[in-house]
Symmetry: C2
Subunit: 374 residues, 2 copies
């Protein structure tokens, strides 16, 4: 039986061995916990910093049972854990976040229905199970529109932009599994995100919302805090808090938002885990998103989410990202982070770098000035 808060020395199980698991494990170590990482590949970033390791498939029930028996609590570094693995674990050991929160975030249609239900506005959308549904949905929402899978989409995978009636049939045929979701195209002014942690006692702490820039559908830059009116930032914070509450979450959740030209915010995606757009917190806050996540999972009080610096985060992607490394190491007030990945394939997130700026200075800077040599 696990008693919360976890005493120092407890073992936290993390499902997934990527960089989010790695940085969570590093934060757990600072808090005096040992981590046990379960992932299919020994050569993964998280394994390198874990006290205990299980290399097994997520379908390996015996390995999952041994894992569950060896840890005080289980958390996840990605939300697309196979449902059967989740259910097996949930019967054996506390899982934070829990099954219901993960299930909502694994399914784009469930996610949108959830956002509708808790009052976070979303772009008009329709569930698409057949070509006839798609035709009807396009008639309702207009073109352009974006057709997306409901499951396993990330970094722009599993989606197609429909610009013309001729795009419908091929996109429907290509994307799967069904059902799909059609979303009205949103001519947004900016993409924001807000990250909320929620403790077991329901306490919520939200980091300052940030402005994100993508390149080739992958996050490239985050500007923290977002250069938006205070009312917009407050609304983003409130939406993230509502998501954390609505999911009855114990852990951390990132809410991606579209900022419309008229100042309204639309909820886009929810990730119930540390998020790439929160990496700036590692150097610009006393406690990072990873520490908040571990605090929540361990039943510790959350830290104050105050920002002591403004920051710009740049992802280091593929071989080019790694090439920037020596230059970044020479820059003052730039903090580089690498994930220990063996091979720098194109499009692969190899690390990130945070440029620290004086608190309150970002609002007056252009992108170019904020980036500097980053």
């Amino acid at each position: 039986m696990t008693a919360f808060p976890l005493p120092p020395g407890s073992v936290i199980g993390i499902l997934g061995g990527g960089q989010l698991g790695r940085m969570s494990a590093l934060a757990a170590a600072r808090l005096g916990y040992a981590c046990h990482i379960f992932a299919p590949d020994l050569d993964s970033p998280g394994m390198q910093v874990a006290a205990h390791r299980t290399v097994a498939a997520y379908e390996d029930r015996a390995a999952l049972a041994r894992f569950a028996a060896s840890v005080a609590v289980v958390t996840f570094e990605f939300e697309n854990v196979p449902a059967a693995a989740l259910e097996a674990l949930a019967g054996l050991v506390p899982c934070r976040p829990g099954l219901a929160a993960l299930a909502t975030c694994q399914d784009r249609a469930a996610e949108k229905a959830f956002l509708d239900r808790i009052g976070v506005p979303v772009a008009p959308w329709r569930l698409v199970e057949s070509e006839a549904d798609l035709t009807a949905a396009v008639a309702a929402l207009g073109l352009p529109a974006v057709l997306k899978t409901t499951r396993m989409g990330y970094d722009g995978r599993g989606q197609a932009v429909l610009r013309d009636a001729m795009d419908l049939a091929p996109a429907f045929a290509r994307l799967g599994p069904k059902p799909l979701v059609l979303e009205a195209f949103v001519p947004f002014a900016a993409e924001l995100s807000a990250i909320a942690a929620r403790g077991a006692d329901g306490t919520i702490a939200v980091f300052d919302p940030v402005e994100n820039r993508h390149a080739h559908h992958i996050l490239d830059l985050s500007f923290a805090p977002a250069r938006v009116p205070a009312a917009v930032a407050d609304a983003a914070r409130a939406h993230a808090a509502a998501v954390a509450d609505g999911l009855d979450l114990v852990g951390i959740v990132a809410l991606e938002l579209f900022l419309l030209p008229d100042g309204r915010l639309l909820g886009n995606e929810i990730a119930p885990r540390p998020h790439n757009s929160g990496h700036w917190t590692m150097d610009a806050c006393a406690a990072s998103q990873f520490e908040q996540h571990i605090r929540a999972v361990a039943g510790l009080p959350l830290a104050a989410p105050d920002r002591h610096h403004d920051a710009v985060m740049r992802n280091l992607i593929g071989p080019e990202g790694l090439d920037a490394w020596p230059r970044l190491l020479r820059m003052g007030q730039v903090v580089p982070h690498l994930y220990g990945k063996a091979e720098a394939r194109a499009g692969r997130k190899m690390g990130h770098a945070n440029r620290l700026l004086p608190h309150g200075s970002l609002a007056k800077l252009t992108d170019k000035a904020a980036l500097g040599e980053l």
Copy 2:
């Protein structure tokens, strides 16, 4: 053959599995390196976050050879590594810091002779090989005076305060191995320390000197920066830089100093490794002492040692230290660190906590105000 700077993914060997090795390994992970920790005990703080582990005695030549073959470079988390282990490793793999620097710091007499030679003032001292030497030394330096072993002393172990002629014989009999060192008693106003990193290219970066308070001969508090005149801080920085240069160090070195009532500084001890009095850098600088150490060892450029916050560091020692943990977790702008030690024995360093204060604010604060609830 190791080529510097080490490319990401390289393996750094660390001799020693204590908290300094653990925090060095965490810093190495952030820089994209994997660590291989060699220590006699699997249940040690560093092992929990190391990608590779060797559990063996420092005298195990075969294990040392396998360790050397598996890493690109070796560093140390404590300077009292057995000389034979050092020599075995140094023939097989680059060691940073090198043998000569470690040898100087392993021997209190060699250390003092070195400080004399590079022009860092030290308290008057004499080498004591016999009781007759001790009598002569006391005649020269007066009483009170402090008799110390030349090797393996730390946290007040291996020393005796001589107040009276009757103290001489018992202290000489008790302390060993010989020779010993007699030091004149220094009526210091404060204990300071300064930590310098030195890269392979000779570049030096010195963190701001700090003020240290001990309790029961163990570091209790560090105040960063030291509340001393700028000329004193500059002298402390210059002394630490001279030590790093004089040792031809590649790595990091802490110089403990006594501040006399008249403003003069006397060098006390040198530790060629990350130091307890530098733990404040983990949260108050963009790059910590551990990151500087790893940067130096890996042949990377050093980071700017700028302080972005003032800070007070409190060691969490023994069961009482651990008892403070829940309270510290609830405090704003306090960053707690635990070392993952299984058992909270009396006097054991279990962790530390950094209280962050606005930059420049500490100078105006009393100890009590600076500590707050820490």
